[in-house]
């Protein structure tokens, strides 16, 4: 029998569903929050409620933001001619952290997977094709994961966009910054050799 009441048990159960938290760490987090109700728990509850109410998916790119279109889509300084296609919002955030891309994004919401039954109709593809049809767009960058499913999706999208007047590019694959050749897998080494360039 648990020493905590049903309310606390429910809180622990909900917290333990979050990534990085198991039942034990959820218990510790719940205890910490209960001990700091005014400084942690109430502000957190308010922030959660506010986020749940206000944050929505951008109808243009699929990013998460309080505004629709999102901050990325409505930023006039960004290049409208390039669309970078990513699998998830997490990938979009990773590219934004790197600060290497100043165009527009498109979040697919997954990749094709024969095993999990994810087909083209389950992805945010129709709106990508619609966006790529626009006269403004010159290049679509397929920034998808270098996995079998990711690359299958990349090939599928490039086929769908093939008859449009846009350049379709993918991210390079090869030796990562700080990577040692000895520790690289065969596929990465082969890709790096194929993508070699004049020094």
């Amino acid at each position: 029998m648990s020493a905590a009441g049903p309310e606390i048990e429910r809180l622990i159960q909900l917290l333990s569903r979050l990534p990085g938290l198991g039942p034990r760490s959820a218990r510790r987090a719940a205890l910490q929050m209960l001990q700091k109700r005014d400084t942690v728990m109430r502000p957190l509850a308010e922030a959660l409620a506010e986020a749940a109410d206000k944050i929505k998916a951008c109808s243009t790119c699929g990013n998460l933001d309080v505004a629709d279109p999102c901050a990325v889509c409505s930023d006039y300084r960004r290049d409208d001619k390039i669309i970078c296609v990513v699998e998830t919002v997490g990938d979009l955030w990773a590219l934004e952290r790197a600060g290497a891309f100043k165009g527009r994004y498109h979040v697919l919401g997954g990749v094709l997977s024969a095993l999990d039954g994810v087909g083209p109709e389950d992805l945010n593809l129709a709106s990508l094709i619609e966006r790529a049809r626009s006269d403004e767009v010159r290049e679509v960058i397929l920034a998808l994961n270098a996995t079998v499913d990711g690359q299958t999706t990349a090939h599928f999208i490039s086929d769908k966009l093939a008859n449009l007047s846009v350049d379709i590019t993918t991210l390079a694959r090869g030796v990562p910054v700080g990577g040692e050749l000895d520790y690289l897998d065969d596929g990465t080494l082969s890709a790096a050799f194929r993508s070699r360039r004049p020094a």
Binding site: L115, D116, T147, V148, T152, D186, G187, T188
Partner: protein
């Protein structure tokens, strides 16, 4: 319980935040799944891609448990095939078919051996589509639903075999099959073991194996052909490889 041996990864599903349930096609244990702890780590992800050959050690307390795999890389083919859209479609289709059609933990050494041949041929687009069809034919045979393509079901003739009866799965010679040719399935010469390939043969072979795999293996289990196979056929059509 413990065993060690080679295997080709055919499917990977994330399990929790750090682990993965890996399905491998092995020569001695058939399609066999196991948990790989840390399977979603940066070092393991390139290894746990469908199509890669790995050395596996499986351990479990009881035989009926899922068990845990220890995985060592052997031949990491997936990375080399990723940029070739045609080869990747073949790899996806073969992995999806193996995962869908083969029962778990039932030894199918011939299917594994043919799978190895298919994976090693995937870089040659003139060769692999026909090997793929032969592999599916072998899959049917190993599951007990093999097609009898040696002699004509009507006349007993062993030459000029041109069709396959959709009912019996037996070959029919051109003469006996002529009145029913609209209802017959075309039998490509390479499926009879002939060493040549004519235009349209791969397409006919894919239709033939799809017909019998659907009706004899998948439909009784309330399953459909995987979308990956349909995409492969589409891609082969686009590349004029049928």
């Amino acid at each position: 319980m413990e065993w060690s041996g080679p295997g080709r990864i055919i499917a990977v599903r994330p399990h929790g935040e750090t682990s993965a349930v890996v399905e491998a096609l092995t020569p001695d244990h058939g399609r066999h799944a196991g948990l790989v702890r840390g399977g979603r780590s940066r070092t393991m992800r390139p290894i746990l891609q469908p199509g890669n050959r790995v050395s596996l050690t499986w351990r479990a307390r009881l035989d009926e448990h899922l068990g845990a795999y220890q995985v060592e890389p052997d031949d990491l083919s997936a990375g080399q095939l990723m940029e070739d859209r045609l080869a990747l479609s073949g790899l996806n289709a073969a992995c999806a078919m193996a995962s869908l059609c083969l029962p778990e933990r039932e030894t199918h050494t011939a299917v594994y051996d043919a799978f190895e041949v298919l994976i090693s041929a995937l870089e040659d687009p003139d060769l692999w589509p026909a090997i793929y069809v032969r592999w599916e034919g072998g899959l049917l045979a190993d599951l007990g639903y093999g097609l009898d393509l040696k002699r004509c079901a009507a006349t007993g003739a062993t030459s000029d075999l041109a069709y396959v009866s959709p009912k019996s799965g037996r070959a029919v010679c051109a003469e006996a099959g002529e009145p029913y040719k609209d209802r017959m399935l075309k039998l490509p010469a390479f499926m009879r073991g002939e060493p040549w390939l004519e235009p349209g043969d791969v397409e006919a072979g894919l239709k033939l194996t799809a017909y019998f795999i659907e009706r004899r293996v998948l439909w009784p289990a309330d399953r459909q052909l995987p979308e990956a196979r349909a995409r492969m056929v589409e891609r082969l059509q686009d590349a004029d490889c049928l």
